[in-house]
């Protein structure tokens, strides 16, 4: 599907290549045959594109000119690629000062249009194909040099380069043996686009009369000859114009496809998901959030959340904990209605009583907008507040979360605040309304421990003051245990255990116990190695029929491998 355009480009370029080889052999004589009885004619049966000022057939000349046009473009591209790669590699072997000079020159030249460079060279060498090729080659080189530099820098940190460096291999040898072979592929991919650009620039030079000179001719030169006649017989310019455009498009399509193919992964087709049977049960009148049998599915049978059920009482702080990839953040997104396309959310029940606020990491503030404006817009959009009212409220909320100077902080951009201050601002944003439930998705992960504690304290205060419940999502069971009333443990898209936070030590599920055991604390037995959970959580598309944790579980039996334990009495384990 995606490569169809690449294929089209390949067909065009292959046809042009065949034309370049065959053209002069087949139509060479015809292109040179002069006919004084048929000078400057328009289209006719004998001459479909007319004739030139010597009575030569223009169609034949266009077909023959392909060879010269492509050959010149190839020459310019190769000159540019070789010179550019050398220039780009030089900083890796030169002393620091020389390297900076080369880099600076390349950076200045990259911005310089090829046509101007080509004209400069044309002045020096005089008119002709040689000057144009040299000039365009010089114009192609800086692009290759920049690419080589970037790529070389990206592999410079690779293990094999470090290893070679430690072994005392000289720099030029590292460059030639280790760096260049590893960056050759993207450089070669770039050739196609450079070839297209060279061909267009060379055609442009010839079209201006500055490139190929008679008796030689390329497509640009034929266009130069035909252009003054387009008012009388446009077809004489049509042939060369079409071929120049075709060549430009062909090389560009291939270049695009090559770059894309190197970058993109395949996307699987969506798969129909059967909705889980709606379990008819009474709604819990006391819960602020009630979720039953929540499932999130992506195309290709990837199901990161599988039949999850959860309830949160007013004012309750519930921790949703699990490793990354356990589906906890997608659960939050599903509750907030934020699952990205093409994900499909199904549930037997998803009831939210009252307003919801979502709190993300501090990095979620828009870097381009002032902090106060990002808060205020909640009030202008949803509460019909005027801009002044909304701003005043934003400043008030920022003060509420204890920003040091709310009026000034509101006028600042996020990067002017510290990480902790930004996190407070994000929480303040959630308090612009009157939320009954706050979903906090890893709000403290990026912060250091001291700031983390301040934020946790702030969250607890918010709960005490507003009576809002919190669903706190984290991979850190220590943080969850400290903040929350109740802990829900997720593994591979399912709840495996839920229990009061103060009973974490008495957890029954082997996964919860392993999470707790992997935390060192004062009571850790120092005579034993620090516990970690061997193995890895299965990917969402690789979850089998049995207990997803069984492959990593010390207690697993044959039954665990074959049959999935349901969540009974707040724990999903056959052995607990």
């Amino acid at each position: 599907m995606r490569n169809r355009s690449g294929l089209a480009g390949l067909v065009i370029v292959a046809a042009l290549a065949v034309l370049a080889v065959v053209g002069p052999l087949v139509w060479g004589a015809e292109a040179e045959r002069m006919d004084s009885t048929a000078i400057l004619q328009g289209a006719s049966a004998a001459h479909p594109l007319g004739t030139d000022n010597l009575g030569r057939d223009i169609l034949a000349r266009v077909l023959v000119a392909g060879q010269f046009s492509l050959a010149l473009a190839l020459a310019a591209t190769l000159i540019g690629a070789v010179v550019g790669t050398v220039l780009g590699a030089l900083p890796a072997v030169l002393p620091r000062r020389g390297a900076r000079l080369v880099t600076g020159t390349v950076n200045a030249l990259v911005a310089f249009p090829g046509l101007l460079l080509a004209m400069f060279v044309a002045v020096v060498t005089g008119l002709g194909a040689k000057g144009a090729v040299l000039g365009i080659g010089a114009a192609v080189a800086p692009g290759f040099a920049r690419l080589t530099q970037t790529l070389a820098a990206s592999v410079a940190g690779a293990d094999y380069v470090s290893a070679a460096r430690m072994l005392g291999v000289p720099r030029h040898r590292i460059l030639v043996r280790h760096v260049l072979p590893n960056i050759a592929e993207p450089l070669i991919l770039n050739l196609s686009q450079a070839m297209g650009a060279s061909l267009l620039a060379l055609s442009g030079m010839s079209f201006l009369g500055l490139g190929v000179q008679p008796p030689d001719f390329d497509w640009g030169r034929l266009l130069f000859d035909g252009f003054p006649r387009i008012y009388v017989s446009p077809e004489v310019a049509l042939g060369p114009a079409v071929f120049i455009a075709l060549a430009g498009i062909g090389f560009n399509l291939i270049g695009d496809a090559l770059v894309k193919a190197a970058r993109r992964a395949a996307v699987l087709a969506p798969e129909k998901v059967a909705a889980p049977p709606a379990a008819e049960q009474e709604r819990d009148p006391h819960a602020v959030l009630e979720v039953r049998d929540l499932t999130v599915t992506f195309p290709g049978g990837v199901t990161p959340v599988r039949g999850l059920s959860l309830a949160v009482a007013p004012g309750e702080i519930v921790g949703l904990v699990g490793e990354s990839g356990s589906g906890k953040s997608l659960t939050a997104a599903a509750i907030g209605g934020l699952v990205p396309y093409p994900g499909v959310v199904t549930s037997a029940r998803l009831d939210l009583d009252g307003e919801l606020a979502m709190v993300f990491q501090e990095a979620a503030l828009n870097p381009a907008l002032k902090v106060g404006g990002q808060l205020a817009e909640v009030a202008t959009v949803h509460q019909g507040a005027t801009r002044a009212e909304a701003w005043a409220k934003a400043v008030d909320r920022l003060g509420h979360v204890r920003l040091p100077d709310p009026a000034r902080n509101a006028r600042q951009h996020p990067h002017e605040l510290s990480g902790g201050m930004r996190q407070r601002a994000v929480i303040a944003m959630g308090l612009m309304g009157r939320p009954r439930l706050i979903i906090a998705d890893e709000p403290t992960t990026a912060l250091d421990v001291t700031v983390q504690r301040q934020i946790l304290k702030l969250l607890r205060e918010v709960v005490e003051e507003t009576g809002a419940a919190v669903l706190f999502i984290s991979h850190d069971i220590a943080v969850v245990g400290e903040l929350c009333d109740r802990v829900v443990v997720m593994y591979a898209g399912r709840v495996v255990e839920q229990l009061p936070a103060d009973q974490l030590k008495a957890a029954r599920h082997p996964y919860t116990r392993a999470l707790i055991d992997s935390l060192p604390d004062m009571s850790t037995d120092r005579s034993r190695p620090l516990a970690s959970i061997p193995g890895r959580q299965p990917a969402p598309e690789a979850v089998g029929d049995g207990c997803a944790f069984a492959p990593r579980c010390p207690l697993a039996t044959a039954r665990c491998q074959a049959e999935r334990p349901p969540l009974v009495d707040d724990v999903a384990c056959w052995e607990a």
Binding site: M119, L208, H415, Q454
Partner: protein, 337 residues
Amino acid sequence: MASPVIVPPAAPKAARATRGAARRAGGRRLLRHLLRLLISLAVLLVASFAMLHLIPGDPVRAALGPAAPVELVEARRAALGLDRPWLEQLAAYAGNALTGEFGTSFISGQPVGEVIAARLPSTLTLALLATALSLVVAVPLGMWAAIRTENGRNRGTDTAFGALTGSAVAVPEFLYSIGLVSLFSIALGWLPPAGKSGPESYILPVLALAIGPAAMIARLARAQTARELSADYVRLARAKRLPALRLHLRHVLPNTLTATLTTGGLLLTALIAGSVLVEYVFAWPGLGARIVESITLKDYPVAQGVILVYGVAVLVVNFLVDFLIALLDPTSTLKES
């Protein structure tokens, strides 16, 4: 909130220091760019001076042809200062260039400074109109395509947008010029085929010059918008249930502009070169026709002066783009390594 034990978070002093540092970094960045511009201008000046001296043999003899009398050649050489030591020539050339003095044309005897002054405004108008048109059309188009195809939906739009812009990028401006003239001037007779007269004479040249850069900028804007749409702040803005228009225009657009302009700036310099070809097709009374003519006729003083002007234009555009980015993006001072 009545908890008295809470530790006051980061002191305001720290924030103020960050802000001051950012401002100083911004000033330093501007200064560095200015310095870079000056160095580039100096190099350009030397290069345009060297151009004449790199011509193999005697440029005056090359220009006047083998039949020209020796006295005339000598007189021209003296007028160009070619009989003096080259360092002295360079100093004189630089001094003259700074005062807008570029010598006189071999062909017409007209001062090159006058030629440039008379023709530069037409070229500038054309380039500025094309720039404005391409930005105004391309940025919204690219954003629209990104939003419509987010996360792989609307595959048809994806394919059509890719094929259309991909082809539009690959067709050079002189072909657009010829195509537009053939269609709108010759076949339909709606618009003037050449020259600069009324407002309608601007339409075709501006279009021909703008299509390529517009397609490229639309692709950039789309790629950048697609990247931004998956950013954390968009998730937060969505969680705030902002209307789509507000989300895209107020939150996403400012973040895409910087990156789009950074690469888009390079395209605008390409547009300066493209104007030479477009002016040639439309017989536009700008500098483009002059540069071609001067190279063809070996009218070196004109070629030297006009190439210098084009070079300066490229460098100044690059500088202005950098400057604009620094103004638009409050964080760019920190991003600069």
